[in-house]
């Protein structure tokens, strides 16, 4: 289509930046900067050239995140949206390939966490195995009670394994600037726990070569029980607590005022930010910078300033205020005119869009009548007389694209969407619709209304957002908090209000109590 216009492409750069909880905590204590300066510092790094973007301060720190907790350790991953030409695009992709070593470091944290988890799971088995290996002869034989304990141990370990896999082993969805308090707490708890069990084991069992094997098995079973309870605690802290809605977040996009309200539970600011961004990508219509400005013809008239000269005698003190008030008054007079023009201009634009939309709809409907799905049993009937060329969806799409191309292009230009839909993407979509037996209206749904941002995303790259907040981002949500998520050209401002406390009363209505009378409005002649 129209790839030579000003918006010729979007580059999505992905850098996966990490933050380490423990390293960063130490590092941040040494820093005496406030949160905002820290964030601004990050932002200034991201504005630099694409190569630099990938090496910003956040990205290279390893972190000892647990792979088990992959879902919630998040750092703002790096992409920025610039409008650049296609050559820059290839250059940037080459830079991306250079950044591969960072990809490995991204998984350092999850790997460390996985090691801890594996260690915790293997410990009970080690407790059982070590006495058998080292001093088997002196162990007291242990019959049925031990076997019962073996079975319960085995099943509990299996359950632990499955639930760890189900809950925690997920690819990280986002990376956040600060560590998670709860997650850190839980990891530390697990580590302390297992370490203290090993300590006790080493002192009480390994050294004196304890012979009571049933006791050892019981000890291992108690470790597994405790691990299960820690996992329950993790489930409650990390997953369940966030489910019950407690706050309402109002999200407003600064450039065009699109706003939404969302209900969330008890989250920290950074987790709320990630949650809001998830909703943003599927709820908010895509940000189209071309739609924002008043037509230049109107703006230029507004901007022209009145020069006012004071002739005659006036105090010097009154001079400036007198001038400013007269200037404001004159500007106000001016403004009266321009709103009129704005109104007519808007009406004109709307009329033009509607006309082009009508042409587009007609063209598409007509184009769709040119093809139909080929049934195999028709082949025998039609082939002797009129051999029809059988096409696959791609060719069919290309065949019927031609008559509607011009109408489509004009419509996209009128609604300023031409940068989002290239000719290739339109043909792909057409092919998709033909394959799934969609009507022309279903095909057009994508173009007639601006879809959510997710529709236009290229999923191979991440997205970079900067969280700007006056309070530390691990603080819990509170009433009246305001924080914002910034990108290069727009930002989302989020305001937190608690959901109101509800006092729900009860009133019982007897179904037989619904009775009615006619209203009396008589008029009698006498």
């Amino acid at each position: 289509m129209d790839n030579e216009s000003t918006y010729s492409g979007y580059s999505y750069k992905s850098s996966h930046s990490r933050s380490s909880r423990k390293h960063r905590e130490r590092r941040d204590r040494h820093r005496s900067k406030t949160r905002d300066i820290n964030i601004r510092g990050d932002k200034s790094v991201t504005i630099q050239a694409p190569g630099e973007l990938l090496l910003d301060a956040e990205s290279t720190r390893g972190d000892d995140r647990d792979d088990n907790w992959g879902e919630t350790t998040t750092v703002v991953t790096g992409t920025s949206v610039d409008s650049i030409s296609n050559e820059d695009l290839t250059r940037v992709s080459k830079d991306l390939e250079d950044s591969l070593p960072l990809e490995c470091r991204r998984y350092f944290g999850p790997a460390l966490g996985a090691v801890l988890g594996f260690f915790a799971l293997v410990t009970p088995l080690a407790f059982l195995a070590l006495p058998q290996l080292l001093w088997r002869d002196t162990l007291e034989p242990c019959g049925t009670p031990c076997e019962g304990l073996y079975i319960s141990l085995a099943f509990k370990l299996l359950i632990l394994l499955i639930s760890t896999w189900a809950l925690f082993l997920r690819p990280p969805k986002a990376t956040l600037p600060r560590f998670f308090i709860f997650r850190c707490l839980l990891l530390a708890l697990v580590f302390l726990f297992v370490a203290s069990y090993w300590l006790f084991y080493g002192v009480r069992v390994l050294e004196p070569r304890e012979t009571d094997y049933r006791g050892i098995v019981g000890y291992a079973a108690s470790l597994v029980d405790a691990l299960l309870f820690i996992q329950y605690l993790a489930l409650v802290l990390l997953e369940v607590r966030h489910l019950q809605p407690a706050f309402s977040l109002k999200v407003v996009r600064t450039t065009d005022g699109t706003s939404r309200f969302y209900n969330v539970g008890y989250l920290s600011i950074q987790r709320a930010a990630v949650w809001v961004l998830d909703q943003y990508y599927s709820d908010f219509p895509v940000y189209n910078p071309a739609l924002l400005n008043l037509p230049k013809s109107i703006l230029s008239k507004k901007m022209s300033a009145f020069k006012i000269y004071n002739l005659g005698e006036e105090n010097s003190t009154n001079n400036s205020t007198g001038q400013s008030t007269t200037m404001v008054a004159a500007a106000a007079c001016r403004r009266d005119n321009s709103h009129n023009e704005y109104y007519y201009e808007e009406a004109e634009v709307e009329r033009r869009v509607r006309k082009r939309k009508a042409r587009l709809v007609v063209a598409v409907e007509e184009a769709f009548t040119h093809i139909k799905r080929h049934q195999d049993d028709e082949a025998a009937a039609s082939s002797p007389k009129h051999p029809r060329e059988v096409m696959d969806p791609r060719e069919a799409a290309q065949a019927i694209f031609a008559p509607m191309a011009r109408a489509m292009q004009k419509y996209l230009r009128a609604t300023r969407q031409q940068s989002y839909h290239s000719m290739e993407s339109i043909i792909n979509h057409l092919q998709f619709c033909i394959t799934h037996n969609m009507t022309p209206k279903a095909f057009l749904e994508r173009y007639l209304s601006p879809g959510p941002t997710l529709q236009y995303l290229d999923n191979s790259r991440g997205r970079q957002w900067t969280l700007v907040s006056e309070e530390p981002v691990t603080a819990a949500l509170r009433q009246g908090q305001v924080f914002s998520l910034r990108r290069l050209d727009f930002s989302l401002v989020i305001t937190v209000t608690p959901l109101p406390f509800l006092r729900v009363g009860e009133e019982f209505i007897d179904p037989k109590s619904h009775k009615f009378v006619m209203k009396l409005q008589s008029e009698t002649s006498v």
Binding site: S522, E523, T524
Partner: protein
């Protein structure tokens, strides 16, 4: 006629209207229609100023009838009929008072807004004269 407080005496400027009943066949008619009453809905009365007023109002006047001749007007509120109170009566009681076959004449006390205003004007002009 502002909102009447129940239990307080009602004061109004009234006009005496005397209507001679006209015989039409077997009936004695007065030539107007009434609406209102304590068993009716007062909100829909187009003639009352106070929409909680459940009094008896004249809703129609037959042209050329006895009521028109006696200068009864549409929208008048009937306060008394032959001495009987009409401010707190049901619709049917009002009808009965007006259509008593033994009475050939009904003497009404009616009030209307224009009466109040006329009195106010005259009182306003009075002291100056």
């Amino acid at each position: 006629m502002s909102h009447h407080i129940p239990g307080q005496p009602v004061t109004a400027v009234v006009q005496r209207v005397e209507i001679q009943k006209l015989r039409q066949g077997d009936n004695l008619i007065l030539g107007f229609s009434i609406g209102g009453g304590i068993d009716q809905e007062p909100e829909h009365n187009p003639f009352s100023e106070d929409k909680t007023d459940k009094g008896i109002y004249v809703t129609r006047i037959t042209p050329g009838g006895p009521a028109e001749k006696a200068d009864l007007r549409i929208g008048d509120k009937i306060m008394q009929v032959n001495g009987w109170d009409m401010t707190v009566v049901t619709h049917d009681q009002a009808r009965k008072r007006l259509t008593n076959k033994k009475e050939g004449v009904v003497r009404l006390l009616v009030t209307r807004k224009s009466l109040e205003e006329a009195v106010k004007h005259s009182m306003g002009n009075g002291p100056k004269q």
